[in-house]
Symmetry: C2
Subunit: 641 residues, 2 copies
């Protein structure tokens, strides 16, 4: 398996442990209650209900959306990860019972999707474009694989292999099969996870087929639409089949387009298939699309998908801060893609830089500090009135919500946070890579021996990372990422300056011995950041970062009319570590200029030099916005050059 | 009649005559061909076809939209105005024949709307909210009134009075009548025009009823929707019934909301009714809404309705330049409202200032310089790629279009331009008001005698206006507007400095004699304009005006990446009168700063002082944008303070 095993690393404290504990103690119980329609004053989700009805265990009809099953799958996957670092037999029993319900709904031929089981099996697989059967199967595969890795139990896995066999008998290149592929990609990367367990070439082949067939002419989606009389929602839109990334064969795609979660799940699957098959053309497409996303279409928060319309990518450097979508799930999908590119393309730190950027900002901004509510949309500029009066911004919320009818983001957050250790570390031959800095204990088998170490750090609030080697074989290498944002660092081994050998952005330490203590000290000043001048929305503006953390201004600290605030080009910031502020998050202060109120002033008048007042501005980490009273927020502020 | 008669003033040269001649020689013939489906390679309009079929003169079905009849009406109105200043018996014969076709379609009870005549009369008046019967009737009333004023012919007028009688028998306050009002306001102001001819109190009463009933609880639109099983398109929108300005009684409305053309037609009708009935509460509502529109929701071009969604107002100071709608028709409707407020609220020049602002910018930008193509949407910032790749901006076009399926803007432009003289002048008791400056001849009866004068001017390119009095009675006053943009002016009578007596922004000249020559010289420097700092989109930016003309930058003159251009706060402009540039339009030049290209640069990096190159920028009148090769355009540029 490529992915770093959760059994090999345990997050033990500080920043990430806090999030993981929120997932374990808040998100998981709440979601389980929601999946079972036990939340008062909330619309039922029908999630487990659907399986129980489909299994004949209770009477009723299908409820919820066509992809309602996937919420169960993502939840199961998250719990599987939680159980890996926090064994809990009670919780495991609950999951086993849920799996019993799920598998009981499976049809004799292997089919397992409650929407069609309850609404008419004769229509199954007649709308691959929109009806998410393969998407749901993909999520269940990921859940089954995760649960198998954690517990060794294979009931769900076996059931799903049977379902995959059914799909494989119906869809594929051979005559008589449907030459189709999913409207919402996901199964591609899931099949590779399955293949890593089964080593059954059929599973790899099916994943590769979905990737290879996509976008070929004549277009399957078009044929399916005509043959089945399906609706084509994007017929009058600029998207056309680009919404589904099916506008051309994937190897010919130059730019990230369409629904951003679909796109990034697909790119992840493409990377998996390219890696497993050694397909360079496909890997080149992945590199090209990676570059397009991260160097032209990504917010500074790691948010992607700048358009609410279609939850989609638009085009290079089009990054509006207020009409933005930047769905939490899309940033999570970007993290999936980043980890794969990191592991498949020679462990280059630039991939981990993006992973870090999106994790510390656009992903965790999706969850409230108490783990009880969630954002879909992660804007970089908010004016409450605009979200209430302008339909174009009405998708932007000023407060996180409890649970959604289409509840994709909360369980997605749960599964990435619960599996954080598999992003923080990677291994290859005799090298252990530290991609992200978290207080943790690691013990993992490398090619020629075991490496074990303890990490202590207050990262991201401090740049000091202490690594204590507790076990190591002579040939092992420890590779610690030097973040792209870091311009200066020092490293000591047992209190003596160490050799700074950098490889692909990783500090590469060899000849380590058991008992060695490494202290990496990353200089972490506040940086004033500009965007590429091609980004129209940010021209003449700057954002503030310290380490990997993007900062923002909120009305509760800085008053309203945040757009009246401008920074002197030479602004200097002080940083403040307040133990009581959200687990000791570091806040920043600087003196800025704020336009003086002018009283009544006409809408247009002859220009005059602006009059500013010096104000002390307070900046908080972006991911913590909207945890206090609702109000304006912004990340990019004007700079006075 | 309140409105200044077109028979009393003739535009004789320069700026406005050019537009009026385009209407006469290009727009009118083209539109007549379009109304009769004689344009090659264009979808048929079905406009005259529908009347001919409804009259039994040919076989066929109804074609086009539910309000297709209104295109014919607006065309007839425009031609009626053209005939007032350019008699043309051939054209008049064509119109008489068209009126024969229209009246032939009238039903025995007076009903006259081809959509329902051809699709089933039993459904007429069952969807006042959406199906535009009263709207079409309103436009026909305006056409009939205009044609009657120009030609004295009353065939259409009489037919429509019969139709109004039918409406009056079915809709109104009395028991047994429908207590309804139109979904698209228009008939209110049209009924007042009718009343001015008929002096029939029934016509005034019906207009007043539509105004008074609107927005009352229980809400008619809601009841109608339920009773008739109609659709309510805005059910899930922020608008709700505010889209139709029916969210509350009109006298209680504080802010301009919803569809901007509906709103401004309604405000015009409200002003008419308030004026005719002396209703102060209603006039106060008009003043409040006027203020909200013009001091908080109007672009510098006089564009209104900042949101494409619903073609609507949003909220105060929300004036995005790139996702803007600012429909040509909405600016025209604003001019209607402005003229009424000017005439009903004591001839205050501030109303004429807005009239001028929207006419010289956001209205005439709707038509190409050759009169052959038209804009619906009048953006203040355009990046072609964004209009092609971002659905949010896909309504913004980079080139004007020939004719539209919903062809509201071109005939609306035709009717306002063809009746320009009635906006340029007004009279009250013994005062003749000059609101707009146009080369023209005026002869009009005031209370105690006739006033006649000739005006020569190259306005708006020059601020010099020469008025030669050719006839005047001793008690007559000539009131010449001193524009709000003008800070300095001189006035001479027969070459001697004259007394500058200002009343409500009008220079008031009394004791004039036949033969007097008045030379008004308005100082017309280039002004750098800022918007109220509450407008987020324009913070740190300025726009350029000279006289009433807003200027813009185009890619064809200034290269791409217009957002890289910034103006020094003390920029000085030179102006250039080029005879060959669109009838001698004045262009401007100034040295500005443009960001140096940086080659490849990452998406985000540490901020550094921007490097600028001095560039000569060329500014053209906003209304002339998109007459050359398509490209970027912008009005608001950053200023370096």
């Amino acid at each position: 398996m490529t992915e770093f095993s959760l059994k090999d690393a345990k997050i033990t404290g500080n920043f990430w442990q806090n999030f993981m504990e929120l997932v374990r103690t808040e998100v998981v119980p709440y979601q389980w209650a929601a999946l079972n329609d036990r939340i008062e004053n909330a619309e039922p989700s029908y999630c487990m209900h659907n399986f129980q009805v489909a299994a004949g265990k209770k009477a009723g009809k299908h409820g919820g959306l066509v992809f309602q099953d996937s919420d169960v799958a993502k939840f199961l996957e998250a719990v599987a990860y939680v159980l890996a670092w926090h064994p809990d037999s009670e919780l495991e029993n609950i999951i086993d019972a849920a799996i019993d319900d799920i598998v009981a709904a499976q049809q004799p031929d292997g089919y397992l999707n409650t929407y069609y089981i309850l609404n008419g099996l004769e229509k199954r697989f007649t709308n691959l474009k929109d009806n998410h059967e393969l998407y749901c199967l993909g999520h269940f595969l990921e859940a089954a694989v995760a649960y198998y890795h954690t517990t060794g139990k294979d009931k769900l896995l076996k059931a799903l292999i049977k379902y995959v066999d059914l799909v494989d008998s119906l869809i594929g290149a051979e005559d008589g099969k449907t030459h189709g592929y999913p409207g919402h990609q996901e199964i591609e990367l899931a099949l590779i996870k399955l293949y890593e367990i089964t080593q059954d070439e059929k599973h790899l082949k099916l994943a590769k087929y979905f990737i290879d067939e996509r976008g070929k002419t004549p277009l399957f989606f078009q044929e399916e639409t005509e043959k089945q009389g399906n609706n084509f929602y994007w017929q009058h839109s600029l998207f056309q089949y680009g919404y589904y990334q099916a506008h051309k064969p994937v190897r010919e795609q130059q730019h990230a387009v369409g629904h951003s979660v679909r796109a990034l799940y697909m790119y992840s699957g493409m990377a998996d298939v390219a890696h497993k098959t050694g397909d360079e053309t496909l890997m080149n497409a992945c590199k090209r699309l990676w570059s397009d996303v991260t160097s032209k279409q990504m917010y500074i928060t790691g948010g992607v998908g700048s358009s609410h319309y279609g939850e989609a990518f638009t085009f290079g450097y089009d990054l509006p801060n207020d009409t933005v979508y930047a769905e939490t799930c899309a940033s999570i999908a970007l993290a999936f893609f980043a980890r794969r590119m990191l592991e498949y393309d020679g462990f280059k730190a630039e991939y981990a830089d993006v992973l870090e950027q999106t994790l510390y900002n656009g992903i965790i901004s999706g969850m409230a500090a108490d783990g009880k509510s969630f954002f879909y949309v992660n804007p970089l500029e908010v004016v409450p009135k605009a979200t209430q009066k302008d339909q174009l911004k009405s998708h932007v919320k000023t407060q996180r919500q409890k649970w959604f009818g289409c509840a994709c983001c909360p369980p997605n957050l749960a599964r990435i946070l619960a599996s954080l250790a598999s992003y923080a570390y990677a291994k290859n031959n005799d090298t252990l890579y530290i991609n992200l800095f978290a207080e943790s204990e690691v013990k993992s088998k490398l090619q020629s021996g075991t490496i074990a170490l303890n990490i202590t750090t207050r990262y991201p609030w401090s740049g000091t990372i202490t690594v204590k080697i507790t076990e190591i074989s002579p040939k092992s290498t420890l590779a610690m990422r030097i973040p792209g944002w870091c311009e200066k660092y020092s490293v000591k081994i047992n209190n003596a300056a160490a050799n700074k050998k950098l490889q692909n952005g990783y500090l590469t330490l060899t000849t380590l011995k058991t008992g060695d203590e490494i202290i990496l000290d990353l200089d972490m000043p506040v940086n004033i950041i500009e965007s590429n001048p091609a980004v129209r929305e940010n021209i003449g503006k700057v954002a503030i970062m310290r380490g990997p953390i993007v900062y923002c201004l909120e009305e509760v600290d800085n008053g309203d009319n945040l757009h009246h605030i401008a920074l002197p080009a030479n602004a200097t910031f002080t940083h403040h570590h307040d133990k009581d502020f959200y687990c000791g998050a570091v806040t920043l202060q600087t003196t800025a200029k704020k336009l003086q109120p002018t009283g009544t002033q006409s809408l247009y008048q002859k220009s005059h030099p602006p009059k500013y007042t010096n104000v002390t501005t307070k900046w908080i980490p972006y991911y913590l916005w909207a945890n206090r009273e609702p109000g304006e927020m912004c990340c990019w502020v004007r700079v006075l050059n």
